[in-house]
Symmetry: C2
Subunit: 140 residues, 2 copies
DNA sequence: GTTCTTGCAAAATATTTGCAAGACG
DNA sequence: CGTCTTGCAAATATTTTGCAAGAAC
C-alpha cells in the first residue's frame, strides 16, 4: 500500500495520518496476516512499543483494524470491509501450534451461523489450529 | 460431576487424582463454559494460582482440557471428546464484548471446512463476538 | 525414604499509562 | 500559542518458575 492510499484510508476513518501511524499501518498491510504487538515491533524497529500500541488502539477505535486472539496473544488485522463502521472479518484463519504463525485463509469464507435469539453478532473469529504446511515438511 | 466420575476421568487420562486437581476440574465442569485463570481463582478461592496453573497445564498435556483464547486471555475447557488423545471441541462459542463472558453454543456444531492441501487441523476455535442477550436487555 | 504435589514468593512477560519534550496547525 | 503526538520510563497485570515443606506411595 502506498502512502497515498493509506492517507486516504485514514481520512475515511477519521484518523490523522502521522508518520508513525503510516508506518504501523504499512507494516500491518505488508504482513498480509493478523500480527501481534511483538511482531510489529520486530518488523518496524524504529517506533517504541507504546507508540505502536497507541496507533493500534486508535485504529481499532476507528474500525481501521480489528483484533483476534490466539495463543500468541492479541493480533491486529486491517479491516477489509468497505463499511467503515464495522469490523467484519469474513475469512478463516489457521494458527500453527508449531511455529506460532497465524495465516489468513482468504479463500475460506466464514459460514453462515444461525445464532440463537437475543445474540447480536459484531464480528467472528474463526481460527483453526493445527500444523501448517511448512512445519509439516520440516518434520521429515 | 461427582468425585468418582472425575477420578475415573483422571484415570482414563493418566492423571493422579489429587485433592487440588479434583477441585480445579470440578470448578471447570461447574462453569459449563471455558474459564480463565482469573475466573477459576475466584470460584475456587482456596488454591493458589500457581497450583491452578499447574493443574491446568497438566490437564492440557493429558488432553483433559483444551484451550481457546478471547480478549480476556486464555480459557480452559474440559474436552468432551471420548477420544482421549484428541482435543476436538466441536461447538461454537459466543464472546460478549460488553461483559466479557464466553458462552458455549452447544447446539451450534462447527461447520465442515475444506482446508487447503498441506494443513493438518488439530482443533477449531470458532468464536463469535458481539453482545449477549443479558447485556442487550441491560441497555434498555 | 523417594518421588510427587503444593504454597509462597519472586522472576519473567506483556500490557498500559504518566509525563515532559517535540511536532503541527 | 495551544493541541496533538511521541519516546522513555515506570506502573500494572499476567504468566511462569524456584524452592522448601508436606503428602503420597
Amino acid at each position: 500500500m502506498t502512502d497515498q492510499e493509506l492517507t486516504l484510508l485514514f481520512e475515511q476513518h477519521g484518523i490523522r495520518p502521522t508518520a508513525n501511524r503510516i508506518i504501523v499501518a504499512k507494516a500491518l498491510a505488508a504482513g498480509h496476516c493478523p500480527m501481534t504487538m511483538a511482531e510489529l515491533e520486530d518488523h518496524i524497529g524504529s517506533i517504541d512499543k507504546s507508540g505502536i500500541f497507541r496507533s493500534l488502539t486508535l485504529f481499532r477505535e476507528h474500525h481501521l483494524v480489528h483484533t483476534l486472539e490466539d495463543s500468541e496473544g492479541v493480533r491486529y488485522e486491517l479491516c477489509h470491509s468497505h463499511d467503515h463502521s464495522v469490523d467484519n472479518d469474513m475469512h478463516m484463519h489457521f494458527h500453527c501450534e508449531q511455529c506460532g504463525a497465524t495465516i489468513c485463509l482468504e479463500d475460506l469464507p466464514i459460514p453462515e451461523v444461525a445464532l440463537p435469539e437475543g445474540y447480536q453478532m459484531q464480528s467472528a473469529n474463526f481460527i483453526l489450529k493445527g500444523i501448517c504446511p511448512q512445519c509439516q515438511k520440516r518434520q521429515h
